[in-house]
Symmetry: C2
Subunit: 247 residues, 2 copies
């Protein structure tokens, strides 16, 4: 935080602009989607970009990210987590802009794009059908977010951010399948869920088209960083038998 010989003034140094970008993930139709905004001006006019904006001088980085999230989606409570700072010179052709990216996870039933962002300018895209390339270095940022999301899914209760208050185990399983991009075995999944103490039965049952299911919710006390892991342990050498399992 210092270094130039003692008497110096930080205000003497050139200053870059700082933005926050928020990669907003949600589940739609059982697939993981990201929210993108279409740019209306140079540079990258007409191209899709990750929503974001400048950090105000009196707000923290996280506050800025939360504000952007609210402005774009109306969502107030979301699982928000800092991802990475990207700051290569030249990543924005206008000037030096350093962006601190955040990942936001929102439950599928909260999805209501804000009036502020009229529908033609914003859209949800399945993560395996993104419009490439995105504006700026946003393709790279989104890939980074996705990789991190998949890593973290395996050892934490990250699914919480993508589920409503109460949910069925099948819904929870769908979150995992959507994020990991592969199917998992129902019995193994339920065994695993039971072994964590992460969820507990909630009031009521799903209003179903057929047999209703028990609802669950996340336990309040649960340490959001439980150390359990699951799925792809990469335990096999090469030649992973994988593919999938069906009944």
């Amino acid at each position: 935080m210092e270094n130039p010989a003692p008497p110096y003034n930080p205000a003497d140094f050139d200053r870059p602009s700082v933005t926050v970008d928020v990669i907003i993930f949600s589940l739609r139709a059982k697939r993981l989607h990201a929210l993108l905004i279409r740019r209306g001006a140079w540079p990258f006019e007409g191209q899709w970009a990750i929503p974001g904006g400048f950090v105000r001088m009196d707000e923290s980085l996280e506050d800025a990210a939360r504000r952007e999230l609210r402005e774009e989606t109306g969502v107030d409570q979301a699982q928000l987590e800092q991802l990475h700072a990207f700051g290569d010179p030249g990543r924005d052709p206008r000037m030096r802009i350093i962006t601190v990216s955040y990942t936001a996870l929102i439950p599928s039933d909260h999805v209501t794009l804000q009036a502020a962002t009229d529908a033609s300018d914003a859209g949800w895209f399945a993560v395996d059908e993104l419009p490439r390339p995105l504006a700026f270095d946003h393709s790279r940022i989104l890939d980074f977010a996705l990789a991190r999301l998949r890593e973290r899914l395996q050892n934490s209760n990250l699914a919480r951010g993508l589920l409503p208050e109460s949910f069925t185990l099948t819904q929870m399983q769908e979150v995992y399948e959507a994020v990991l991009g592969k199917t998992v075995d129902k019995r193994n999944f339920r065994k695993w869920v039971a072994s964590l103490r992460l969820v507990e039965p909630a009031e009521g049952r799903s209003t179903g088209r057929h047999r209703p299911a028990q609802l669950y919710r996340f336990t309040l006390d649960a340490d959001p960083e439980r150390g359990f892991l699951w799925a792809t342990r990469t335990r096999g050498r090469g030649a992973a038998s994988k593919t999938d399992a069906q009944d």
Copy 2:
């Protein structure tokens, strides 16, 4: 990356200063140490701080971190990884300064503090005997770095950054013990090392005070992010704590 109605100029927004801070870890006398710098001016004059400096307008964040590392230690090649951006208003009493922190791991035998930083101004501190509090929010940043380091040690070849080119398995074990802050079983450690394909025997044997040991080196091809894990699986019951911070 945008948002205010189309015709706007990013240069119109107030800009914060941006620094990089580099938490430099190394092993000394079998204990994990961090390099700190004593501040010579207000604010926090006389207190210890994490080394860092302003990001120049023409260098990337990582380049800035690498430059700081070189300026403080003379070390050119190190495992350098972005940690987290800290940007609360007020974290620096002079003005709004956002810092992007990096973690650097350097092998113990490369330790030669630079002339530029005369010895009275810089020092290595064992991570469990840090001078508290550090300047600014640096205590928090260092705790964050330490927690992350411990997490990551378990599933990657992170030890590489803290070891010389060739090393004995006992040295490697000491790295793990120093970082995790606990002892591990020698046989289990070696079994685990063998199961990864991370290291291979190197030429020569340790020049010992007693029985010499086989030297090893990291395999060149090794994927730096192998998915294996080890040690504390947190499989036991209670409250696997987490020093983590949240922004």
